[in-house]
Amino acid sequence: MSLPEVAVGDEIPGRTVPVTRADLVRYAGASGDLNPIHWNERTAVDVGLPGVIAHGMLTMALAAQFVADWAGDPAAVRSFSTRFTRPVVVPDDDEGASVEFGATVKAVDDDGTVTLAVTATGPDGKGVLGKALARCAPRT
């Protein structure tokens, strides 16, 4: 399966993903990360956070999903690395917090491997992932 044709500097069309408290609970169960700062307001505030925050690994998973959907093949995603720069605070309402994902093509290798610099922006317009790099390779 080949990857979409791109050149260095191209921007990948972005997308916005809403993250609600229900999504955090579902991710907590699926991942086994039951840290209460991701579902209990009282605990989150106690440790000095503005409120319940999303798992950094959930934001990373949504970013990886954004890349996999662009690639058209989840198995094409060969590496993904990121820094968690800011928490995504998820309010106790039906809308949740919107995280906007985008990416720029950083490298295209001779063998068709594409490296994307991925961005994730929280509801306040600030980046929540830093130095996020995804490498995708076509499957033969």
Partner: protein
């Protein structure tokens, strides 16, 4: 107190995890992975996989658990209640497939001190029963310095 730098290079006993199909499906739902290769055996086989495949960050399900056990090792001296996850990386040599029996070895890649905080990078080497590398992931955790009370 700074962590003991002699932990760098040390590894802990291997742990084995059997990847279940329903866990792959559950995780895929939780991260909005709608590609049928995560949920439908026929779709996965048609795409050239031996079974349903996990989404890229699925390995955190078993590598975080393995890492957490090391973090909790009192000999290391990291206080989990003060730990912040700073960086994460995955290097996937092949997709994780339902039925995989995977062995994870956690080791300490790096320990440093940054502005009084302990910064520890853990590495998980994940292999299949033939000893082939399936993936390598790293997690960098920051143990925030305790406040003087």
């Amino acid at each position: 107190m700074p962590l003991d730098a002699s932990f760098v290079g040390r590894s802990w006993p291997p742990r084995t995890y059997t990847v279940g199909r329903e866990k792959i499906r559950e995780f895929a739902r939780a991260v909005g992975a709608t590609d049928p290769v995560h949920t439908d055996e026929d779709a996965a086989r048609a795409a050239g996989h031996p079974g349903v495949i996990a989404s890229p960050t699925f390995p955190v399900v078993f590598t975080w658990e393995a890492t957490r056990e090391v973090v909790d090792d009192p000999a290391l001296g990291l206080d989990f209640t003060r730990v912040v996850h700073r960086d994460q990386s995955f290097e996937l040599h092949r997709p994780v497939v339902a039925g995989d029996v995977l062995t994870t070895v956690v080791s300490v890649d790096d320990i440093r001190e940054l502005a009084g905080n302990d910064v520890v990078t853990f590495r998980c080497d994940v292999t299949d029963p033939d000893g082939e590398t399936v993936l390598v992931c790293t997690s960098t955790l920051v143990g925030r310095a305790g406040e003087a009370t």
